[in-house]
Symmetry: C2
Subunit: 64 residues, 2 copies
Amino acid sequence: MKNRLKDLRTERAWTQADLAQRVGVSRQTINAIETGKFDPSLPFAFRLAKLFNLKIEELFLDDQ
Amino acid sequence: MKNRLKDLRTERAWTQADLAQRVGVSRQTINAIETGKFDPSLPFAFRLAKLFNLKIEELFLDDQ
DNA sequence: GGCCGATGTCAAGTGTGCTTGACATCGGCG
DNA sequence: CGCCGATGTCAAGCACACTTGACATCGGCC
């Protein structure tokens, strides 16, 4: 499950801490997801997609 | 996080066990998600959306 | 070189997604 | 009524999503 988080975040010149605050999780969680440590929960994925005005399928790529 | 699982499943005349097998989880997991006990993981939500040919946003409704 | 903000990562703890196994209930059908 | 498949639900256990706190590293800037 790859994602475009890091690109979208840096495009906007946000730090991991900035993004974490906007979606209500810890900075370590953002870092773990960007670096592929684990996948976000579904409600968290919805909040991220909403923030970037994208469909979940546009943010997260199913590589099985 | 509401979902349209039960409707889509019964439209196709599938049992919970049928659906569980198609997406690779236990029957109890399907039941728990249909009855709102908890939300599926993101990879599992992708499998369900793919099975029904829907966007994740069309299957799961964010009610926060 | 020395400072500092941003990032990566570890450890330990909590909550939840999901499992197997079991049992109760409901509805349709003989 | 009695049977049976489908559904709902409980308990116990495991894996993972996420937390706080801490520390190492990297890059830019003085």
